[in-house]
Amino acid sequence: MSLDYFLTVSVFSMINMILALSLNILIGYAGQVSLGHAAFFGIGAYASAILTVKLGMGYWPALLLSVFISGLIGLLLGLPALRVREDFLVLATIGVNFVVVSIFNYVKFFGGPYGILGLPRPSLFGHAFTTREYALYVFLWTLVVVFLVHYLSNTYLKLGFDALREDEDAAESVGVSSPRYKMYAFAIAGLLAGLAGNLWAHYMTVVFPDNFSFPVSIGILTMVVIGGVGTLVGPLIGAIIVTILPEVLRFARDYRMLIYGLIIVFTMFFMPKGIVGSIKGLIFGDTPLGKKRVEKVRRIAGAQGRIAGR
């Protein structure tokens, strides 16, 4: 295995981690099922491609702007979620994916089926990133995103998402405005997926509509489901597995959708909480609160009673 090959697989894994964390905020945290996540990924990639190649903008301002645009469009595309019921939302998000890819394909401005070529690698102090440096750059962003999501998991924002996911009426009854929290979820997911799109586009230096088609969305969903919906580590592990699997099973590449489908069905049947959820369950039992938090709470409350239900 050459170093370049290793770097490429690593970069893809890390970008997929960001995508999986992003989708997990929608599905695992806020309970907003989205089957069109590749659309947000594509919007980030295309926004940056157009800004740098067609408008001649430098990489760094294009990074900021493309991520911002993705967040904004994420928010707009999330608007149907405020109106439609859950099962319709699934259809609506698939629809969004197809529409976005069609726009890339058929609207001339977006380059059509031949995509947009010649994206620049970022440069610092006049020095353009080599592939190795770029891999490091992606690694740094992945760290930032992991820390950010970890941080948010510990806030009232997350508890608002939890409430929304568990029961919308009950959430409203404790002060969680469901439109506001749905929009938060879509905006944050859009920002992160847009970042992933930017990182991917400037690694590949070309973007094509097919890179963001529906099967890609299913791939992202697979990462979240097999790793463990709603956990932090699960999507990271899921991302690595889904990235590496087609590399290991080269013959199976043409059957990508079939394999994703089988993985999802098997996971749902045998490990509904995903790999990470299941392992946690085996070690700690079925407690909704982590061990550390329970200990912290007991310290604060000075409670001596044993934990029931363990």
Binding site: N154, A163, D169, E172, V174, V297, I300, A301, R306, A308
Partner: protein, 242 residues
């Protein structure tokens, strides 16, 4: 106020005046419109006509989450605990009522000392410490009803709406709920509840309002209501008076 669902007049010119500090019961046969009344008060439904004044301000057309923030909390006839969250988190979720709409939601942790302490006090009030770390959805109905009351208390309500708080509970659990509601009321919370259980109702309600087919047919003290002939005809005729 009035409310119509298609051809069904769920509430017709119902007027209700709940005084600060009282415990008021709403009773009436199945389908009388009691839950609909609650859903209108807390903002889930918009009345076709009429006004609702809470704490001196109209709350018609105000979002339920905003109404909660103004100090109105409720429980649900069909329990709606946050199933996969621990009991503690259910209560912490209620304590966030002022935080959710502001950017503080991005900063504050529900597991900060101040929130955990408050939540624990509420959990103790309900006597459910033993279950604090258990997923609320796995608990029996009686405990889930207590979790809902705890979560509602965390909202720091001025007015607490309880939709059939003892339905499905055994005698012991009912007695515990009576004690809890009395305690809550003594701490200064106005309570408006719906209940079919007459033992519970007569025990704690200071006044009772009776709905039948969306119309208010009587209102008064428990003694007056149990003697009222229209009430007996419409409602109590089919139920045992405890």
């Amino acid at each position: 106020m009035s409310k119509r669902f298609g051809g069904l007049q769920a509430l017709k010119d119902v007027s209700l005046d709940v005084e600060v500090g009282e415990i008021r019961a709403i009773i009436g046969p199945n389908g009388a419109g009691k839950t609909t009344l609650f859903n209108i008060i807390n903002g889930f439904l918009r009345p076709d006509s009429g006004t609702i004044v809470f704490d001196g301000k109209s709350i018609v057309g105000v979002r339920p989450s905003e109404i909660a923030k103004r100090g109105l909390a409720r429980t649900f006839q069909i329990v709606k605990v946050f199933s996969s969250l621990s009991v503690l988190e259910n209560v912490l979720a209620g304590l966030g009522v002022d935080i959710y709409p502001s950017l503080e939601a991005f900063q504050r942790s529900p597991f900060a000392k101040e929130y955990v302490e408050k939540a624990w006090k509420i959990i103790e009030t309900l006597g459910i410490e033993k279950y604090a770390f258990v997923a609320a959805g796995t608990l029996p109905l009686g405990l889930q009803r207590k979790v809902e009351v705890a979560r509602a208390l965390a909202v720091k309500p001025k007015l607490l709406l309880l939709d059939e708080p003892v339905s499905g509970l055994n005698d012991l659990e009912t007695q515990e709920m009576i004690d809890v509601v009395k305690k809550i009321n003594q701490s200064g919370v106005t309570v408006l509840f719906i209940e079919h259980d007459m033992h519970f109702t007569v025990n704690i309600a200071q006044r009772i309002t009776v709905l039948d087919y969306g119309v208010k047919i009587a209102e008064g003290t428990p003694e007056e209501i149990t003697k009222d002939s229209r009430v007996i005809e419409a409602y109590l005729g089919s139920e045992e008076v405890a």
